[in-house]
């Protein structure tokens, strides 16, 4: 009995050793869960694995929730994947800690992936000290989604790409005043949306010394205009309609417009397939003749502690190849980051989805566009502004008081 046991153990041991020796190099990648999981698995099956048959095995490890925290934990424990998503929102803290591999050398040697292939604004967001730290895989920015049917009923012209803030306000006021059941614009009391308008005035989050001035005339003007929309009754908070976000309120069908990114297209496809919507660029600020916008983007980045860096870069090239991005675009899943796809056939289609995607794509390069990130402060930076917005829009404070308090808090709590 004992002899049989020892023999079996020996056989297993040999098999394992032989097995591991003959194994391919394994590259692990980590991404979001949910809808994204199916997309990435398709991409890997179609565009990545076939090219790497026999050499590299790609293992996809989706993270269902709290991606950033799980990633931080795994990086700290040394068990993180070789390639991972890096959201521009928290990219800087990872890069500052030396956790991300700089890619300039790899890009220089690559034949299929070059820095210039990617839209400028996007790759700049992931460039620190002239080093590229991630290849953006897609992006999103804000556009004005409007309900064509409501505008037709009210007899008002559709919002156009050339509207100024005032012209836009008139249009939605006309629709909202037309009937008691119609609401104007669904706006969120958050800098996540108001910021686009603040940027249009030429204001920036941080000046050269890294300070924030919320009492700057330009910011005050954008703040007062934005809150004024709600105070005058032309706009409504989604919470007052029982919705979580402006997209959810827009899906109800009695809201004239909402400011959201292209992610609302997928949402509307499921929730309100018959909604006849159109998309226009955000209105222009008359003082500067420019509009503003955020860029939301996620990049593929390489773990600085990875042991298979060259193989991981090969996988990165395939994941961001023109074929892969085109496939994603044709399904209306995301907006590609490669410049060459701007003229793609998809954008020439007449469907509301294709046209909305085209508007969002063009918005990313039009005007004062900044990546959606706040340096080392992150979401904390937005807190004082969001509190001020909420208090003014729920009639608890006047705009001047709210802004003064916001500036105080900004200096005391955030910028310390």
């Amino acid at each position: 009995m004992k002899k049989v046991l020892v023999l079996t153990l020996a056989v297993f041991l040999t098999l394992t050793i032989v097995g591991t020796a003959a194994a391919q190099t394994e590259v692990r990648i980590a991404g979001f869960g949910g809808n994204d999981q199916a997309i990435v698995e398709e991409l890997i099956a179609r565009f990545v694995q076939p090219e790497l048959e026999g050499e590299i095995e790609v293992v996809y490890e989706p993270v269902a929730d709290n991606f950033q925290q799980v990633l931080l934990n795994s990086l700290s424990a040394g068990t993180a994947a070789d390639l991972f998503y890096m959201d521009i929102f928290w990219a800087q803290s990872l890069i500052d800690n030396g956790l991300v591999e700089p890619l300039n050398d790899y890009l220089a040697e690559s034949e299929v992936l070059k820095r210039d292939d990617i839209v400028e604004n996007l790759i700049d967001g992931f460039t620190y000290d002239d080093q590229v730290y991630g290849i953006p895989k897609d992006f999103n920015s804000l556009a004005l989604f409007y309900n064509k049917d409501l505008f037709d009923i009210a007899g008002v012209e559709y919002p156009s790409d050339d509207d100024t803030w005032m012209e836009f306000e008139e249009k939605i006021a006309a629709v909202s005043d037309f009937s008691e059941d119609f609401e104007g614009l669904a706006i969120a009391p958050s800098f996540e949306r108001m910021g686009a308008f603040s940027y249009a005035t030429g204001w920036q989050d941080f000046d050269e010394q890294g300070n924030t001035n919320l009492l700057d005339d330009r910011f005050v003007h954008s703040f007062e205009w934005y809150t004024g929309l709600e105070q005058e009754g032309h706009a409504i908070l989604p919470a007052d309609m029982g919705a979580d976000w402006a997209g959810g309120a827009f899906a109800n069908g009695n809201v004239a417009a909402a400011i959201e990114g292209a992610w609302v297209i997928g949402f509307l496809r499921d929730q309100a397939p018959n909604l006849n919507y159109g998309a226009a660029k955000l209105p222009v600020y008359p003082g500067t003749d420019e509009r503003g916008n955020f860029i939301y983007t996620v990049s593929w980045s390489m773990n600085a502690e990875s042991e298979v860096k060259d193989e991981a870069f090969r996988v990165m090239e395939l994941l961001t190849s023109p074929e892969a991005q085109q496939w994603v675009l044709e399904r209306g899943l995301a907006i590609p980051s490669r410049k060459e796809l701007a003229d793609n056939e998809y954008f020439k289609q007449d469907s509301k989805e294709a046209q909305a995607n085209l508007t969002v794509f063009e918005s990313a390069s039009d005007g004062h566009v900044y990546p959606y990130e706040f340096g080392e402060y992150g979401a904390e930076w937005m807190q004082p502004i969001n509190t001020a917005l909420t208090e003014v829009m729920t009639d608890q404070m006047s705009a001047e008081e709210a802004l003064e308090e916001a500036q105080e808090r900004m200096e005391r709590d955030v910028l310390n």
Binding site: Q68, Q69, L72, L75, S76, F89, W90, Q92, S93, D96, N97, G98, L99, A239, D240, G242, E373, F374, E376, Y377, G378, A379, E380, Q383, T387, T390, E391, T394, Q396, R412, D413
Partner: protein, 371 residues
């Protein structure tokens, strides 16, 4: 020789049985605690070398505005919720201890809030406390029908008092809360209210809708209490917490009530004690050891309250709902900045010390648990 081995085995068996739990305790509590204690004196942020900075974190904590708010919120929350829930649990237990038919059904129903998931309950309460939610709607209704309610209550109390006093005047034995008179007064008051409505003497008031913001505000209540006021969203969370924890405490009190010998109550009745006196002089003192347990558990639980704040999340301003436990979380996992592990560990240490102080004080005051 064999005897000695047997003796050893017997002596070792309790420790052997303890090993699994002891292992879990040492690794997940002991090791974690000492590591946190160590980190609280360093400037660790998960990716650098932990440099010793002495009391720097603690000093920084007391300069932070958010920490001050968290401390204040935690202490207010803990004191108010624990005292209120102890009292309500005691009263409920006494009520549910009667031997009337169907009392078991009531006990089950009253126990339900404790077994529901706190996440689900918080979500539902968020809906109820919306600006145009049910709670505000009920308040609006109350405002509108205010005159009816007032009238109803006045007539009810007056008729009842009238009948009771009449009996007392005629020197007949009658209890102050005589049930039959209560029912009679209710019926008379209902008819009076209905009659007044029918004849149009008072109408329903036209009032503006109550649109109090319960969650997304930084206002404090009560407004006149100055530095002792607490934020409104915290009041909503307090209500929530009391409602879900009372049943658990009530069960403990019910168990304790079974131990009180009925002879004590009978002796008291013979001596002519009223219900009120029986409650205060017999029930409460006999339940002293249970009160100690309930209050200790109450303090420890409320000082660590975290999940309700996390679920309410962005719906309420952070400084109005933050508690020490949530403050630790926010510093450990900031949304995009570097984790401030040292600061979070220091805050956790402060929370531990606070808990110790509370429990110690409570033990001194009630003088229990020493036996």
């Amino acid at each position: 020789m064999l005897n000695k081995i047997k003796e050893m085995k017997e002596k070792m068996s309790p420790y052997l049985l303890l090993t699994p739990f002891l292992f879990w305790l040492v690794v997940f509590f002991g090791y974690a605690f000492f590591r946190a204690f160590y980190f609280s004196f360093t400037d660790y942020n998960l990716f650098n070398e932990a440099n010793f900075i002495g009391l720097g974190n603690y000093i920084k904590l007391f300069n932070e505005y958010l920490f001050g708010r968290a401390l204040k919120n935690t202490i207010t929350f803990s004191v108010i919720v624990t005292t209120v829930q102890t009292f309500i649990a005691l009263v409920l237990a006494v009520i549910l201890n009667q031997k009337i038919k169907g009392i078991k059904i009531f006990r089950t129903i009253y126990y339900l809030p404790s077994i529901t998931s706190s996440v689900v309950i918080t979500l539902i309460f968020m809906w109820i406390f919306q600006k145009q939610g049910i709670f505000n709607y009920l308040l609006t209704l109350f405002n509108r029908y205010q005159e009816y309610v007032l009238l109803f209550l006045t007539i009810f109390i007056l008729t009842h008092l009238f009948m009771v006093l009449k009996e007392k005047f005629l020197k007949r034995p009658v209890k102050v809360l005589e049930p039959s008179y209560i029912v009679l007064s209710l019926i008379i008051a209902t008819f009076a209210a209905l009659g007044v409505n029918f004849f149009g003497i008072i109408g329903i008031r036209e009032v503006a809708d109550v649109e109090t913001i319960w969650l997304n505000t930084r206002e404090m209540i009560p407004a006149w209490a100055g530095p002792f006021a607490f934020p409104r969203p915290l009041a909503a969370i307090m209500l929530l917490n009391i409602w879900t924890t009372v049943p658990t405490m009530m069960i403990l009190y019910l168990a304790g009530l079974q131990d009180i010998p009925g002879a004590l109550y009978e002796a008291a009745e013979v001596d002519g004690a009223t219900t009120w006196q029986k409650f205060w002089k017999i029930t409460v003192p006999q339940l002293k050891h249970i009160t100690f347990l309930v209050m200790t558990m109450g303090f420890i639980g409320t000082l660590q309250m975290f999940d309700q704040v996390a679920i309410i999340g962005g719906q309420a301003p952070l400084e109005s709902t933050v508690t020490l436990a949530y403050y630790v979380y926010v510093n450990m996992f900031p949304s995009s900045a570097r984790p401030a592990v040292g600061l979070a560990s220091a805050a956790a240490m402060i929370l531990a010390i606070l808990t110790l102080i509370f429990v110690y004080l409570q033990r001194r005051i009630t003088g229990e648990g020493r036996e």
